[in-house]
């Protein structure tokens, strides 16, 4: 009797990743035929770095546990920093409030109701000192999330180091400073694209010489993904931005080795476990390959992509918030299996508010459990060789390269931004996701499946309105007490430098030392560069 084995029916007509990529029932050697270990993978620490930037990976050093934190006043955030360090985190990460992200002081009319709400309020160098009170800057590395005003905030940080007696060669950290994705995703832009690129290359030049342990940009995909892009778009648009920064430095005449080694990256880690791990591996391979093949760079310090990862904020639900602990743990594991150098894990209450102390402690413990109890950090890139994973990695690389061609055809990243290319891609992907969710093609537990009628009560962090009032009083008292003539002269020097081509960091440092506020310093650049207004795309 001949019979075909009865094929089992499947639960759905199609199985797709979160980003919409078709997934086969099973993956076989033929799905990765042609995969060459030396050419396509390499050992960790060896070109093309698919398996990791360093040979020892987590056996040499665990990823940095770096929780993004900031709210209220500098004193309140300083307390949270100390708490997190005490609880075992190994790096600092600063969240600034919206007035800071948009270059405004706390007493600016547009800052009303916003001070200290989404991050810490910092108006002056004294506030910045308070933020790091009791935290010697040669003992920690700090990441700062700020973009348009990054040049001023880095000078603030260097000013604090100076006041602490720490020389700048000892200062270690990262400033996000990735303006290109602001126009397409995070939207905390102030000035138009071209003058903003000048600020970034000024920082490349200054840091290359004077702050050698500083990562001058954190080229980010996180915000692109959070804005609704697919994994492939996140990968492609981030790397495209990265190449644009390489070209900007090159066009200024900076030798690659003076700045490319200090370009770092920042990726999202979303819920589709294998797609995310593949994306991170593809990122390393694409960066190394393209820098070598297109730009002729051979220096390993330039070719190895290093990244910070954050678990996906947009995957968190307001419904049944404790379930977010599970999501974050799975995402964190994907980030580690993807070989991140630094990791932030979201708190379970972040769809509702900024993290409470209890919630952020659980988020940190999530990383610590992965590091200490699971064994995944005992060996590098443990999933390499999986037919599924290698197939996904190849596929994501192909998708990214196709996007590079499109961007090049538009004339490069800035022309593509001006044409609204990224913004439309992201808006379309975001809308398609929402439609898939509402049609039931995607499930989010607690939201469109396994819902509960009753709400879980959660004690959320609240920002005292007194914070804003105090900060306003403080900055106004600061202005009244300083040598206004000295400040005016220093700010005029910033404005002159902005209108010219000399490096802006020295005059900004002088202005801050003289007592200029953050907003006032940004205003000098506003006056020269103007303000960006985005095209309406939805």
């Amino acid at each position: 009797m001949s019979s075909r084995p009865r094929e089992a029916a499947e639960r759905a007509p199609a199985f797709r990743t979160l980003s919409g990529r078709d997934v086969q029932r099973v993956y076989r050697p033929e799905d990765v035929a042609g995969l060459d270990y030396a050419k396509d993978l390499g050992d960790p620490g060896v070109y093309p770095y698919t398996r990791g930037p360093y040979d020892t990976m987590y056996r040499g050093r665990l990823w940095t546990m770096r929780q993004f934190a900031g709210f209220g006043s500098a004193e309140q955030t300083n307390e949270r920093f100390k708490y997190l360090l005490q609880q075992g985190q190994t790096g600092l990460s600063v969240a600034f409030d919206y007035p800071r992200l948009l270059g405004l002081d706390s007493d600016h009319p547009r800052s009303e109701g916003e001070v200290g709400k989404m991050g810490v309020a910092i108006d002056t160098l004294e506030d910045m000192e308070r933020l790091f009170d009791g935290i010697p800057l040669d003992q920690v590395s700090t990441s700062m999330t700020i973009n348009s005003g990054a040049i001023v905030m880095l000078c603030m940080y260097l000013g604090v180091a100076e006041r602490q007696g720490v020389t700048w060669d000892k200062v270690a950290g990262t400033i996000q400073n990735d303006i290109l994705k602001e126009y397409t995703a995070q939207k905390t832009y102030i000035f138009p694209p071209r003058p903003s690129m000048r600020l970034i290359t000024d920082m490349f030049a200054f840091c290359g010489e004077r702050v050698p342990r500083w990562n001058s940009v954190s080229i980010s995909g996180y915000h692109i993904r959070e804005a609704g892009s697919t994994a492939g778009q996140e990968l492609a648009f981030t790397l495209a931005d990265g190449f644009a920064y390489v070209e900007a430095g090159r066009d200024l005449g900076l030798p690659y080795e003076t700045f490319v080694p200090r370009l770092s990256f920042f990726f999202d880690v979303h819920m589709d476990f294998f797609e995310e791990i593949a994306k991170l591996r593809a990122a390393r391979r694409i960066w190394a390959r393209r820098l070598r093949e297109k730009y002729g760079i051979e220096d390993p310090r330039c070719l190895r992509l290093r990244f910070h990862a954050q678990t996906a904020g947009c995957s968190l639900t307001a419904q049944q918030p404790l379930v977010n602990v599970v999501r974050t743990a799975i995402e964190a594991l994907a980030g580690v299996l993807g070989g991140c150098q630094s990791l932030h894990t979201n708190s379970f209450d972040e769809a509702l508010a900024l993290p409470s102390e209890e919630a952020v402690r659980i988020a940190l413990r999530t990383q610590q459990v992965i590091a200490e109890e699971t064994g995944v950090s005992n060996t590098a890139d443990p999933l390499a060789g999986s037919y599924f994973l290698e197939s996904l990695t190849n596929d994501l690389e192909r998708e990214a390269v196709a996007y590079f061609d499109k961007i090049e055809a538009l004339g490069g990243v800035i022309p593509a931004i001006e044409a609204g290319f990224f913004q439309r891609e992201i808006a379309d992907a975001s809308y398609q996701y929402q439609q898939r969710l509402q049609r039931g093609e995607l499930a989010v537990v607690g939201v469109n499946k396994y819902t509960l009628d009753e709400k879980e009560p959660v004690e959320i962090l609240r920002i005292d309105p007194e914070v804003e009032r105090t900060q306003i009083r403080r900055v106004q008292a600061h202005r009244a007490a300083r040598d206004q003539g000295r400040v005016d002269a220093a700010l005029a020097a910033v404005k002159r430098a902005a209108a010219g081509s000399s490096n802006l960091m020295p005059p900004i440092l002088d202005a801050l030392r003289a007592g200029a506020t953050f907003g006032e310093t940004c205003d000098q650049m506003r006056a020269v560069f103007g303000e960006y207004v985005e095209p309406i795309i939805f």
């Binding site: 109701g113 804005a227 947009c314 769809a351 808006a427 939805f538």
Partner: protein
């Protein structure tokens, strides 16, 4: 009868526009005329746009925690211009305890994370002032 006109507004410094854009597109797909303000608009700008565009609905998106400052200003501004019957809606991150005061101030509905766009469409259709245009 003319289509329902909606102003989707990002007010204050909040820069998260994913939700606002999805709502704007969903309302447009549902046959409404949608004007999107873009980011970082002052309350005064939102009011002026609402009046100029003669909208039936002002749908504010706010995730920054500034809602108790910004939203009442917009409502007061609209009332000062005589636009009392514009339907006010808010979407974003709003703690439960703030919903009551916002409703009392004149916000017809507050929508949080996980809201289905159809729910927003139906709410507008069910609550927009009868017999628009003004």
């Amino acid at each position: 009868m003319r289509p329902i006109r909606v102003l989707v507004a990002k007010a204050g410094l909040d820069s998260h526009d994913r939700g606002a854009k999805v709502i704007a597109r969903a309302l447009r797909d549902a046959g409404m005329e949608v004007i999107y303000t873009g980011l970082h608009r002052t309350p005064e700008h939102v009011v002026a746009a609402a009046i100029q565009e003669d909208v039936d609905v002002v749908a504010i998106s706010l995730l920054s925690g500034a809602h108790l400052t910004v939203v009442p200003k917009i409502i007061a501004g609209l009332r000062a211009e005589g636009a009392d019957d514009v339907l006010m809606m808010l979407g974003g991150i709003v703690p439960d305890e703030d919903v009551g005061p916002l409703r009392e101030a004149g916000v017809a509905a507050v929508f949080g994370p996980g809201t289905d766009t159809e729910e927003v469409v139906e709410f507008i259709r069910g609550h927009v002032r009868a017999g628009s245009p003004a």
